[in-house]
């Protein structure tokens, strides 16, 4: 089985936010929920870099570990998904996530955050593949259609890579060798306990 990962090549990312709106477009994500976002480090200073970040679909995912109702599961493609029917909106995954991926419809309201929502790697959820129920709860299921997440597919500079971890690592490695610089596979050490050695 493939081991699906994201890799944002910060030396290509220009903070155009295509990944963000592609995600909204593809999954009809409501206002206020940001499954993906672009963060600029050292904004305005020489060496500034932007990184597109969403759920990294960690190995041994902290969200799954701390979930009190065990609503997370990992697919055969190593995509970390969750079952909204089981989610109780407790916020623990949000505390545990190193990447700020979990989102709640009503973060500031007393008592209820609503069901947690996060990047599904465009792989839907536990419902029947490509069913309306699946779309309504989780958004599209591109993996089931043989496609990759739209954020990466539409990335303007092909900075955001999605696909099998080994393949995208190889693409990144070859880029770095070719151009002679690379700011790192952001999040990989934290998410996968590994990095790309060049």
């Amino acid at each position: 089985m493939a081991r699906m990962k994201f890799l944002c090549d910060a030396d290509r990312c220009i903070e155009c936010n295509a990944c963000v709106t592609a995600c909204k477009n593809e999954n009809d994500v409501p206002w206020g929920i940001n499954r993906r976002r672009v963060v600029t480090i050292n904004d305005g200073k020489p060496g500034e870099r932007s990184v597109s970040m969403a759920c990294m679909h960690c190995t041994d995912a902290p969200c799954a570990a701390v979930c009190p109702v065990d609503c997370f599961y990992t697919t055969a493609d190593a995509v970390v998904l969750h079952n909204k029917d089981l989610c109780i909106g407790c916020g623990y995954c949000f505390y545990a996530c190193p990447f700020g991926a979990p989102q709640y419809p009503k973060l500031s309201n007393f008592g209820s955050r609503g069901k947690m929502d996060k990047c599904t790697y465009c792989a839907g959820g536990p419902e029947v593949d490509l069913s309306p129920a699946e779309f309504q709860k989780y958004g599209s299921n591109r993996l089931a259609e043989g496609k990759l997440p739209l954020c990466a597919e539409m990335c303007s500079t092909k900075a955001l890579l999605a696909g099998d971890g080994e393949i995208i690592a190889q693409i990144y490695k070859e880029r770095v060798v070719k151009r002679g610089y690379g700011s790192g596979a952001w999040g990989w050490q934290t998410a996968y306990r590994e990095t790309i050695a060049i």
Binding site: A18, C19, D28, F135, K178, R179
Partner: protein, 992 residues
């Protein structure tokens, strides 16, 4: 609501079988890569590897489920021209898929492109025609609305003349829409017709066309992959043209190219540069001449290129001598060493290309800025070859096409100008009597000491620019050089907040008798000012709801197919222009060449038939070969084009064509010219897309030698510079029937062609040129002999017909360096484009009033990636609006702390004119240097602290409103094109 695909094939199996091999050990990683197309070209292609490749492996499989069809159109935002691939089910646009096959965007988008689907679901669109009655919006039928508008226009025409109605068109039109609107203006009888290019690249077009012939980007986004040095100036491509960065960054990586960014602001583009140079806004010429100083000093110029292809470089050399490093550092703030490094890189690490945008063009010396850059390119021999060129990134999706089709105060379609010959040419193409057009124009009485003008003279005089329309409303009638002041604005697809001096603009708006806003979203023409009556709002559909071609920045044409029917009661530009023409009584004459179909609000012409008429008339710019059939063939075979050369693959239906048949695409469609990927490229045959510099300004020019004697310098190319396999191995003038005869090539004309030429020329057949020969015969014969129809000339380093033939630094009208104004003053006051242009008086007044002390911060403006133009459309798109919810000003931490301003707090930004002020949020950042501030220009709906949401027709107000930067920007206009000085003014910032 579930509006996405409701069903699709479950194809998980495909992905799993593709990826599954890995674990199963059936396939090693290497063979998987190969199978996925990932190693195509081996490691060499690593930089170009596309992520979608994994998906590509499956792309051959059957498409989406039945019931969903794929329609291709072009993104309606910037000029890069990304293909939008829409999934449509039951007439609803349900999904957007990456268009991998497009050689331009290869599946990708920016934030705007990735969210265009929202535009045709947008509940904030204008839903039906409306008019303002005593401050209240009333719904109308289309017939009623157009009827009332037409009556009012006729009334104004009778009282004040045709020139009193301003026709403001749009860079969002398709080519066909632009052309139709220009034709509409001709039938109405005015040259007061303009569009966004005025405020975008009008100075570029003027500067570049006056240098080497055509006012357009010389190369392409894709070609930048070949560059070894890319210099950006006043361009933030990462935000304004994000998808272009795909090519630039890939080129930077594979070529290890230098990317040098000159900008007052450390932009997202600068973050990816190999060298960033901060300079003071408004000192572009000093920067360029500073670079040239080092180039000439060190002999880095391309002497052979200058000798054979450039006229007047010595005049430039003389001017540049004044710009030694010390002077330049004083003016621009850039240290000499850094200038030297950049100059050396640009001149010696070749091919080098220069990319510029509005940071260069929006100045009172915009045209001169552009001319300076052209000279840098000429001096270093960086024009007319791959990897080089003036890569002018244009703004809107079809600003190139709209410019080409003369939505411009001084041109008929395809840059024919306004001279009698031009009018006669188009009258022939339109099959309307020339005298009819003469009769449509106003007679202008003598006033203000100026002589009267006949109809014919008025017809040949450039109109009012869109940057100053309100001056023509507000100024005393005597100062406005036409029959009367402006009384009506008919605006199709143009925002109101994109030009400076909004406080004056608001006054002008109130004075109008009639204001018609035709747009998918109400622009801030609707919300601004205190109008209570006489405003009409007409719902226009987006280009996704109609068909037509659009020309991207690299001159490639792409055909967009209608994705869905116009939503609500909206209608296409074609339908509305037809309906209004019908009301005004000239529809029959104007539309007779077209195939008409029944649309929602009445008959409308098909885009195909309009394009065919363009093909019959657009000879001067090579808009003749791009028939709808050829364009559609290209769209269907996008995957057959090479990523870098844009050439169609051998054996494919588009073999040898360049993608989108970039103009000039000479001759008739049957001639099969491939288009010109790179302009002035002598390394290709003329009929294969090659070219030369265009001699448009005579054949020789007199020069006085030091001893007082005079010589005539040739303006034709010398020294063996000609396009590949040209039969004339030297410079040559443009082709006319007379030239053909002299060469004995007239025998190659077919009888049919000869007949057409005779019909045009009458008793002076020799004067019929390549640009007015409707048969295309002269072009065909020239090309078949390896020659370029327009001739083979020299580019002009000295453009003697311009106000500053050799550019010289001039301080902005509002300069922070009062001490430099005396030495580098603005131009003297003059009258340009029908009204006064008070460069010197305004600059002097600013100095005398001590403006620079009271307003010490240099203010510049620019784009955000999420929004575009005036921004109503994008600010109404919920997916985009969420990303930028507040108007802001970028201020340096040092300036902020001096003023007690916190990041995210509200501040007042005030401008030097009319006590203008804007309340915005502070973004405290090092992006701007100390003493500089930046504001995005996409906001509107707040005016000097007042929320104007209530002024929009109910339900159509954009989600995000904000102050417009142009509330505080100021006077200053380019003498050639009327471009405003939006990029260098002064302001003060205080905590709110």
């Amino acid at each position: 609501m579930l509006i996405k695909r409701k069903s699709a094939d479950v194809q998980r199996g495909r992905l799993q079988s593709a990826l599954g091999g890995l674990a199963a050990g059936v396939m090693d990683r290497r063979s998987f890569l190969r199978r996925s197309g990932l190693v195509a070209g081996g490691v060499a292609a690593a930089g170009a590897l596309q992520i979608g490749a994994v998906r590509k492996a499956e792309a051959a499989s059957p498409g989406p489920a039945t019931g969903t069809k794929i329609v291709k159109n072009i993104c309606t935002h910037c000029s890069v021209g990304c293909t939008v691939k829409a999934e449509v089910a039951n007439g609803v646009w349900v999904g957007q898929e990456p268009a991998w096959e497009s050689p331009i965007n290869r599946g990708t988008h920016c934030a705007k492109g990735a969210s265009v689907r929202e535009l045709v679901h947008g509940d904030r669109r204008i839903k039906y025609p409306m008019k303002l009655v005593d401050g209240k919006w009333q719904r109308l039928s289309w017939d009623q609305a157009v009827g009332e508008i037409g009556d009012k226009m006729m009334e104004i025409r009778a009282k004040s003349g045709a020139d009193s109605v301003y026709l403001l068109g749009s860079a969002k039109f398709s080519n066909e829409g632009s052309y139709l609107f220009r034709k509409f203006a001709a039938f109405w009888g005015t040259n007061n017709v303009d569009h966004q290019a005025r405020i975008c690249h009008s100075t570029t077009v003027a500067g570049v066309a006056n240098t080497w012939g055509y006012g357009a980007m010389t190369n392409s986004y894709n070609d930048i992959r070949n560059s070894k040095t890319v210099l950006f100036m006043g361009s933030n491509a990462a935000e304004a043209h994000p998808v272009s960065m795909q090519h630039i960054l890939a080129g930077k990586e594979t070529q290890r190219a230098n990317v040098i960014v000159f900008d007052p602001r450390f932009t997202r583009t600068a973050a990816h540069a190999t060298d960033y140079v901060r300079f003071r806004s408004g000192t572009d010429i000093a920067v360029i001449w500073g670079l040239m100083w080092h180039i000439f000093q060190n002999g880095w110029e391309d002497k052979a290129f200058i000798a054979s292809r450039v006229h007047g470089m010595d005049d430039v050399r003389k001017e540049v001598e004044k710009y030694d490093p010390k002077t330049v550092e004083d003016i621009t703030g850039v240290p000499g060493e850094q200038m030297k490094r950049a100059a050396q890189t640009f001149a010696t690490v070749k091919p080098a290309t220069f990319v510029w945008c509005m940071g260069v063009t929006q100045h009172s010396v915009g045209t001169a800025n552009v001319r300076a850059i052209c000279n840098l390119l000429l001096a270093t021999g960086n024009v007319g070859a791959r990897g080089t060129g003036a890569n002018i990134f244009r703004g809107h999706c079809n600003v190139q096409g709209a410019t080409d089709f003369g939505l411009d105060v001084s041109n008929l379609p395809c840059y024919y100008g306004l001279v009698e010959g031009a009018w006669r040419h188009w009258a022939r193409v339109w099959n309307v009597d020339y005298d009819y057009f003469v009769s449509r124009f106003d007679e202008v009485p003598a006033k203000g000491g100026r002589p009267a003008r006949t109809r014919k003279q008025n017809m040949e005089l450039s109109g009012l620019t869109s940057t100053r329309w309100f001056d023509a409303t507000n100024l005393p009638a005597e100062q406005v050089d036409q029959q009367d002041n402006l009384k009506a604005m008919f605006v199709m697809g143009h925002g109101g907040n994109s030009i400076p001096r909004m406080t004056d603009l608001a006054k002008g708006l109130e004075k109008l008798d009639l204001l018609v806003v035709c747009d998918p979203h109400p622009t801030n023409f609707v919300s601004l000012g205190g109008r209570k009556n006489g405003t009409y709002v007409l719902p226009i559909c987006t280009q996704f709801e109609t068909s037509g071609s659009r020309t991207c920045s690299n001159r490639s044409l792409q055909w967009g197919e209608k994705i869905v029917e116009p939503i609500f009661e909206s209608a296409s530009d074609y339908a509305v222009i037809y309906k209004l023409s019908q009301k005004l009584g000239f529809a029959e004459a104007m539309f007779k060449p077209y195939e008409m179909v029944q649309g929602k609000i009445g008959p409308e012409p098909t885009a195909e038939s309009i394009l065919k008429e363009i093909n019959r008339g657009g000879w001067s710019t090579g808009y003749t070969g791009q028939s709808p059939e050829r364009l559609k063939l290209h769209m269907a075979n996008q995957d057959k084009f090479d990523l870098v050369t844009l050439r169609g693959a051998k054996g494919s239906p588009v073999e040898n064509d360049f993608y989108g048949l970039p103009w000039p695409c000479w001759g008739t469609p049957e001639f099969k010219h491939p288009g010109s990927h790179i302009l002035y490229n002598t390394s290709l045959e003329a009929r294969d897309g090659g070219g030369t510099f265009r001699p448009r300004f005579g054949l020789t020019r007199e020069r006085t030698l030091p001893d007082g004697s005079k010589v005539n310098d040739t303006l034709l190319a010398e020294g063996g510079s000609f396009s590949l396999n040209s039969e004339i191995k030297d410079g040559y003038p443009e082709f006319t029937m007379g030239v053909l005869k002299k060469l004995g090539w007239d025998k190659d004309l077919t009888p049919a062609e000869l007949e057409v030429i005779t019909g045009i020329g009458g008793n002076n057949i020799d004067a019929v040129s390549w640009s007015i020969d409707l048969s295309g015969g002269i072009q065909r014969v020239a090309l078949e002999h390896g020659c370029v129809p327009y001739g083979n000339g020299k580019a002009r380093a000295n453009a003697w017909n311009l106000p500053d033939p050799v550019p010289t630094h001039r301080e902005p009208i509002y300069s922070p360096r009062v001490d430099l104004v005396a030495k580098w003053p603005a131009r003297p006051d003059e009258r340009t484009l029908r009204i006064p242009n008070l460069h010197t008086s305004m600059q002097k007044a600013a100095v005398e009033k001590g403006i620079a002390k009271a307003f010490p911060i240099v203010l510049t403006s620019g784009r955000l990636v999420e929004y575009e133009g005036g921004g109503e459309e994008t600010r109404s798109n919920k997916w985009l609006a969420e990303l930028q919810q507040d108007m802001f000003v970028e201020i340096n931490p040092a300036d902020a702390s001096e003023r007690g301003i916190r990041d995210g707090a509200f501040v007042w930004v005030s401008g030097p004119e009319n006590g203008a002020k804007a309340r915005v949020k502070a973004l405290v950042t090092d992006r701007v240097g100390k003493g500089a501030a930046f504001m995005p220009f996409h906001f509107g709906g707040f005016f000097q602290g007042v929320d104007q949401r209530g002024n929009y027709p109910p339900g159509t107000d954009p989600i995000v409103l904000g102050e417009s930067v142009n509330t505080v920007t100021t006077y200053g206009y380019d003498p050639v094109t009327g471009m405003h000085e939006g990029k260098a003014t002064l302001c003060q910032i205080a905590a709110a």
